[in-house]
Symmetry: C2
Subunit: 141 residues, 2 copies
DNA sequence: CTAGTTGCAAAAGCTTTGCATGCAT
DNA sequence: ATGCATGCAAAGCTTTTGCAACTAG
């Protein structure tokens, strides 16, 4: 069976015209296999488990490369650091001020999920951030 | 006439239980009188025009104090730096990727403009960020 | 072969902190 | 009088950069 699976990281990167390296395959797999939004440090830590010689600069370069090619999206819901995710459709996020966790929120965005004009500006991307106390932290109190 | 104007910075700060100092009055006036979203450095530069001995640390502390008391809101639409504004109702912002300017966007937010529950999380604050090319930069090309 | 990627170390830029002094109430 | 705010300098973090060596296509 030589039919390639469309979820094969090689195929994905090739489809986005991203040159394939072991580091990039690894970073992409880590992001795809995590259902969380990962910070650069979290990605870096996971990378080291498999390829201990990779440098932080490579992780930054790789994530920036993915972002430029629209393979991943970066979040800045937390002012302290960036998070990355492979889900690229427009959706909202929620940051819990107690535990610091980031959640997806399935609220319908206020404008269409595609490029459009708003007040004569060309909109290319969107981020909707909510801040508050998450379900779990509410229960604890 | 001794009736105090409600836009008097003294009264505003007092109303928010913020201890009054010359530095704080100045920072607040700068924010209120600017119709822009100001970065810390922009606030700091304007502060120095009036009180040249104020330190950057005081500006940071003051803005954080105002933010904690809900007198101002901070934006992180630009990953590089924070912006501050006195408009505290929920509204969207737009960052132009060409010129770097931040604009208000009067799109109706996707959830009510007050504390509410979304997917069992308590929502206390909201930021909606759009990214793209602004009207002016579109015209130039 | 050749452009693009990597790893390292250092630098950059924003923000926070520790501490002594000074001020608001 | 006293707790909080200020100013200064230094430190902390995330992120970027310069450069030489390497590697994918």
């Amino acid at each position: 069976m030589s039919k390639k699976n469309i979820t094969d990281p090689h195929e994905i990167l090739r489809g986005y015209n991203i040159k394939i390296t072991p580091q990039r395959l690894l970073v992409y797999s880590i992001l795809v296999n995590s259902n969380h939004h990962l910070s650069v440090d979290e990605v870096y830590a996971k990378v080291l488990e498999t390829l201990p010689s990779v440098s932080r600069a490579t992780v930054y370069a790789t994530l920036e490369c993915f972002r430029k090619h629209n393979l991943v999206k970066s979040l800045r819901i937390d002012p302290e650091r960036s998070y990355f995710e492979t889900r690229t459709d427009w959706h909202h996020h929620f940051l819990c001020r107690k535990c610091g966790k980031v959640f997806d929120v399935e609220v319908k965005p206020c404008i269409p999920m595609k490029k459009c004009m708003v007040e004569e500006h060309l909109i290319e991307d969107f981020q909707g951030y909510f801040y508050g106390i998450c379900k779990k932290c509410l229960d604890k109190k």
